[in-house]
């Protein structure tokens, strides 16, 4: 079913998105003068509304580059990528990739990875609820069986690997406390999880995200450990387990054979460039 040919919503949208185009045919202001300023209200609503949505979604990125730069960058994104559904909390799934290729942001090479981290935080916020495994249950596990155990992770769990200290950057900007210069000479691996209502962001020891991804894939702790040590010979297993327990990432741990083709949603599969 389509409407009458004299109302072409496609042409209306083209003019909405391209400020170089004149207002579409068939519309009037009240006074017979060109309706450009009136049409511009819709143009502005579309653009500003979506830029605001991105600003809300990526607050640390906005702090890092300043409001003016962020809004200019977000406008470029909006022109190229409109939301695909009316659920604005899903908007911005391509923002980190866009930022990584956005020439004027080259001076902040970590910006795209911070955008990935913020995207994961937003995903975790809206993710399915699930009760994490109580500490008591974890303590009750026989330590000698852990290597053969598998785990189900919280549906909100994501890991992000970066060449830059993204967790430290994120924390500084969340707290506004430590404003000493930040050394950018090391990478960090971030774990994002929302065990109850608050989203946790934690740094994992290097190799930790490979460890988590292996567990997500249904591998045993032993296999996950192998995956991590292949990347980092001196992988800190104890530190990693400690961070995962504190963050409450486990829903269950069971001493059973490896699950094949685990059906759980995988963690955000992203490695920093």
């Amino acid at each position: 079913m389509t409407m009458s040919a004299d109302f072409d919503q496609g042409a209306f949208v083209r003019a909405l998105l391209d400020p170089e185009l004149p207002a579409p045919n068939g519309i009037d202001a009240r006074h017979g003068f060109p309706p450009e300023r009136r049409f511009a209200v819709y143009r502005n609503n579309v653009c500003v509304g979506l830029v605001d949505a991105l600003a809300e979604r990526f607050p640390i990125c906005r702090q890092l580059v300043g409001d003016e730069f962020f809004r200019a960058m977000a406008r470029c994104y909006v022109r190229e990528f409109l939301p695909r559904t009316p659920m604005l909390f899903e908007y911005g799934d391509g923002f980190a990739t866009f930022v990584s290729k956005f020439e004027p942001a080259r001076e902040l090479p970590y910006l795209a990875d911070v955008a990935w981290l913020e995207y994961a935080v937003g995903q975790a916020y809206h993710a399915e609820d699930a009760a994490p495994l109580p500490m008591d249950a974890i303590r009750a596990l026989p330590p000698d069986r852990l290597a053969d155990a598998t785990a189900v992770l919280h549906p909100s769990a994501h890991v992000i690997t970066s060449k830059y200290p993204i967790v430290s950057i994120w924390r500084r900007h969340m707290s506004d406390e430590d404003l000493s210069p930040l050394e950018l000479d090391h990478g960090e691996e971030a774990l994002v999880v929302r065990p109850q209502l608050a989203v946790n962001v934690a740094a994992l020891p290097i190799g930790g995200s490979a460890f988590v991804r292996a567990l997500e894939d249904g591998r045993t702790f032993g296999t996950a450990m192998d995956a991590a040590t292949r990347l980092v010979a001196e992988f800190d297993l104890t530190g990693c387990l400690q961070a995962l327990l504190v963050a409450k990432v486990f829903l269950s741990i069971s001493v059973t054979p490896e699950r094949q083709n685990a059906s759980r949603r995988g963690p955000l599969d992203h490695s920093g460039a």
């Binding site: 079913m1 389509t2 409407m3 009458s4 004299d6 109302f7 919503q9 496609g10 209306f12 949208v13 909405l16 068939g26 519309i27 009037d28 202001a29 009240r30 006074h31 003068f33 060109p34 309706p35 450009e36 300023r37 009136r38 049409f39 209200v41 819709y42 609503n45 579309v46 509304g49 979506l50 605001d52 949505a53 409109l82 939301p83 695909r84 559904t85 009316p86 659920m87 604005l88 909390f89 975790a124 916020y125 809206h126 993710a127 399915e128 609820d129 549906p155 909100s156 929302r194 209502l197």
Partner: protein, 308 residues
């Protein structure tokens, strides 16, 4: 929510069980204020699209809110005036939110917001003619069939008009109500904004509005601008206290309608809770000084509708 199997006409169903009181758009920033003060707010309204995630704080807060207050769910993404067919996936999502929270009312807009697979995040205008009428009525029908209840359709804020419009907005709304059996949400601010922008009388609009079918009113603060020849250009910005012109029109609408659920919309530059709740208290004062709806007027209007 009412359940029914017989395909009785939507006209006979209750569209809204919202109390004839002032309500507020719910903002998570106010959640702790609301919990702490258990305020005398008549109802809360939420945008359906913000509660379509799987879980997390939005659902935890809304579940709590729903326990303590009547709830109105307002859709912004069904694109009822869209040229294509309705997005069935989105309609399913709306249905699932409505089924989960069983709101006292569900409302949407006489506007479009989606084109193809692109969501434009604004309520865009459409011409009012025979083609769009058939189209919008069919969309309203489809939504009501999916939700199993009549919806409230809201009049938009207009910044320009279409040469291909053959109906006035009120004629158009009246006809949609007649064909689809939906009810109306009268946005008084939109009426004032459109009247100023398009040069018609807001008072005449309120006086002619099919008030019998109005089951909710929206009030919001507008922003003022001007166009290229210096004419006023008002913008439905939802970012300010309600202006006196809007309160005056609201009172005029209540004189015809009698007390009815009234929402204060303030979605941008969200104010502190005391300022927002003071706006609701002001609307309550207007509601309280109005007698119950004038049945005589309602009946004569219904008669007029049936013969017209």
């Amino acid at each position: 929510m009412e359940t029914r199997s017989a395909p009785e006409p939507n006209r006979a169903r209750v569209a809204s069980s919202l109390p004839a009181r002032a309500g507020l758009g719910f903002k998570s920033a106010h959640f702790s204020d609301i919990e702490a003060s258990a305020p005398g707010i008549g109802f809360f309204e939420i945008h359906a699209e913000n509660y379509m995630g799987a879980g997390g704080p939005p659902h935890a807060q809304l579940t709590r809110l729903r326990r303590d207050f009547p709830l109105s769910i307002h859709g912004v993404g069904l694109s009822i005036g869209g040229a294509g067919r309705l997005d069935r996936d989105h309609l399913r999502r709306v249905k699932s939110v409505v089924e989960r929270y069983e709101p006292a009312a569900f409302s949407e807009h006489l506007a479009w917001s989606t084109q193809g697979a692109r969501f434009l995040n604004d309520l865009l205008p459409l011409p009012y003619n025979a083609a769009t009428l058939a189209h919008v009525a069919a969309h309203v029908d489809e939504i009501q069939a999916a939700l199993g209840r009549p919806i409230l359709l809201e009049n938009p804020a207009a910044y320009l008009r279409f040469r291909s419009s053959d109906y006035s907005e009120i004629e158009f709304l009246r006809e949609i109500v007649r064909r689809a059996g939906c009810r109306l949400l009268l946005d008084v601010t939109n009426a004032y904004v459109s009247a100023t922008n398009l040069g018609f009388s807001a008072e005449d609009y309120i006086d002619a509005f099919p008030m019998l079918y109005v089951e909710e009113i929206h009030l919001a603060g507008y922003a003022e601008d001007s166009d290229e020849i210096g004419d006023p250009l008002l913008i439905d910005a939802h970012c300010a206290p309600i202006q006196k012109e809007v309160w005056r029109l609201y009172d005029r609408a209540l004189a015809r309608r009698g007390p009815v659920a009234t929402l204060i919309e303030w979605d941008n530059e969200i104010p502190p809770w005391p300022l927002l709740s003071a706006q609701a208290a002001r609307a309550e004062r207007f509601l309280k000084k109005r007698p119950l709806a004038s049945e005589d007027r309602a009946e004569s209007e219904a008669l007029h509708d049936d013969v017209g």
